[in-house]
Symmetry: D2
Subunit: 178 residues, 4 copies
C-alpha cells in the first residue's frame, strides 16, 4: 500500500500516517471475491498471494484503506481493481451493510485479528466478480478455490492475521460452510 499515492485530500506523509496510526483506528474495507453461477450460488472464491503487514507472503483477501472523502463503494472498487486488475468487473453490493466487521489490533490477543502497524476497523463484503482477474501491483498471484477448498486447513495455514477466520465467516454468510 503506497499511502502517498492513495491520499486524495491534503497530504499525509509516511511520518504523519505513522503518527496517526498510533492514535486513531483506521477505516478499512475487505472484499472476498467470488465467482457465482446464474442462481447466485458461489462456485469459487478468489484468494490473493501477497506480502502481508506482518512480513509474510500469504494467501489473502482484497483489503485496503478508505481514504478521506471516499465513499465505501468507491473504496471497494478501487481496492478490488488494485488487487485483481481493472478488468475484474466487480459487482459492488447494493446494501451498505457489511456481512461482518473485523477489528485488527497490534496485540493479536485482543480479537485474534492482527495488524502490527495499527488498530484497523474493517468492513467486510462479498464481491462477485464477472470479468478477467489478473494480479496487479502488490498481488503476486490469484487462486480460485471451491468453497470446500477455501475452508480447508491447508488453505487456512497459508493465511495470516486472522484472515482465514474472516474467509470462513464469509463462507458461512454465503451458506456454503461445509
Amino acid at each position: 500500500m503506497t499511502d502517498k499515492t492513495e491520499t486524495q485530500h491534503g497530504w499525509l506523509s509516511e511520518e504523519d500516517i505513522a503518527t496517526v496510526r498510533e492514535r486513531l483506528p483506521i477505516v478499512y474495507v475487505e472484499a472476498v471475491p467470488v465467482r457465482v453461477s446464474d442462481d447466485g450460488r458461489v462456485s469459487e472464491v478468489g484468494l490473493l498471494l501477497r506480502a502481508m503487514p506482518d512480513g509474510t507472503i500469504s494467501r489473502a483477501i482484497v483489503s485496503g484503506r478508505v481514504l478521506w472523502g471516499e465513499r465505501i463503494r468507491d473504496a471497494l472498487i478501487r481496492n478490488v481493481e488494485k488487487d485483481l486488475g481493472s478488468l475484474a468487473m466487480p459487482r459492488i453490493p447494493a446494501s451498505p451493510a457489511p456481512f461482518t466487521v473485523v477489528e485488527y489490533f497490534p496485540d493479536p490477543s485482543v480479537s485474534g485479528f492482527h495488524d502490527p502497524r495499527q488498530h484497523a476497523v474493517s468492513l467486510a463484503y462479498v464481491v462477485p466478480v464477472e470479468g478477467i482477474c489478473e494480479p496487479s501491483q502488490v498481488t503476486l498471484d490469484i487462486a480460485w478455490l471451491t468453497p470446500e477448498e477455501a475452508n480447508s486447513s491447508e488453505v487456512s495455514k497459508e493465511m495470516t492475521s486472522g484472515q482465514d477466520r474472516l474467509l470462513r465467516t464469509a463462507l458461512a454468510h454465503l451458506g456454503c460452510l461445509p
Copy 2:
C-alpha cells in the same frame, strides 16, 4: 398464480390447496427488482402492475410460492422470470439470508400485511436485474422508478397488502431511504 402448473411434486388440486391454506403457513419469496450502477448504487426500482389477491389492480413487487422440493434460489429465478420475462437476467443474491421476513395474514390487523387467502411467510430479497424486462403472464405493466419516487406517498397509495411497507423496508436496507 396457476397452482396446478406450478406443482412439481404430487398433485395438488385447487381444492387441496384451499384446504391446506386454512391449516398451514405457506412459504413465499418476494423480490424487489432493482437496476444498479457500476458502484452498486440503486438507480431504479421495478414495480409491477398486477391483479392482487385482494382483488385490486395494484403496483406490486415480484412474489410467488416456493414449491415442494424447490430451492429458494430457484423459486426466486422462476418468480422473477414469471413476472419480468425470461430475459430479465436476475442476479440472485449469493447469501441465503433475506433482508426481511414478511408475515401475511387473512386478518390485516395481525401484522399489517394482508393476504385474504392464507397465512404466508415470505422471504424478501433485493434482486438486481441486468437484462430486458417485459410484462409476462399475469403482469400488466412494469414501471421503473427512482428510489425517491418509489418512496413517495403517491406510489404507496397504489400498493396494497402492505407491500408499500415492504418496499420502503427494501429501500432502507439499500441505504436509499430519503
Copy 3:
C-alpha cells in the same frame, strides 16, 4: 412434536399432515440458544440432546414448526420454552430477519440439510437466554459449551441433519468462529 396439540386452527390429523408434507414446504424456526456477557459477547452455546427426525439421539438446536396464524416471534418463544423450559427467559431478536435460512429435504444431497419427513424451510435465529434452562418435553439434556467447544469436530459428529453446519454458521454470524 405432537402435531395435534400444536395445531391452533382447523384440525390437522397425523394423516393430513403426512399428506401435506409430501406437497408443500413446511415453515420452521430454529433458535441457537446462547449465554452472553454484558458486552454482548457469547460465552456459551446451548445444545439439546434429543431424538431427531432421522431416528438418532443427537445434539441439536431448538427447532419447531410455525403454526397457522402464529407470528414468528411467538413460534420462537413457544419452541424455546418447549425445549428449554418456561423459565428460560429468551430474548427474542428485535429484527425479523433470520441470520440464515436452511432448506431441509428428504434427499440429503439437495442442500446437505436432511429431513426424511419433509421439505422444510427453516428461519434461523440466535436467541440469548437469561433464565434457568432445564430439559422439557422431548429434550433429554441441555449442554452449555464454549464457542470453541461447539465448533469442535467432536461436537459436530454428535449432530445430524446438517445442524452442525447451521451451528457453525451461527458462530460465524456471531463473530466467534475460531
Copy 4:
C-alpha cells in the same frame, strides 16, 4: 465530546485531532436505543436532545468515536452510558455486523449525511436498554417515542445531519416502519 478525556492511547490534542480530521475518516458507532417487550417487539425508541456538531439543539441518537485500542462493543457501552447514564443496562448485540453503515461528510451533498467537522464512517446498531435512562453529560433530555411517532415528519424535522434517515432505516430493519 471531550476528545482529551476520551483518548486512551497516546495524547491527541484538540489541534492534532483537527489535523487528523482533515486527512482520515474517523470511526464512529451509533446506537438506536429501544425498549422491547418479551417477544422482542420494539415498543419505544429513545431519542436524545442535544447539541449537535452543526450547532443546532436537535433530537439525536447515541453517537461517538471509537477510540484507539477500543473494541466496538466497548465503544457502544461507553457511548450509551455517556448519553443515557450508567444505569441504562444496554444489551449490546451479539453479532458484530451493524444493520447499516452511515458515511458523514463535511459536504452534505455527498451522501446526505452531514458532519461539518469531519468525514466519519459510522457503524449503526440497535441497542435494547433495560435499565433506568437519564440524561448525562451533554444530553439535555431523553424522549421515548413509539415507532409511529419516531417515524413522523414532526420528529424528522427536529433531527439534523441525516439522523432522521438513519432512524427510519433502523425502524425498517426492525420491521416496524409504518
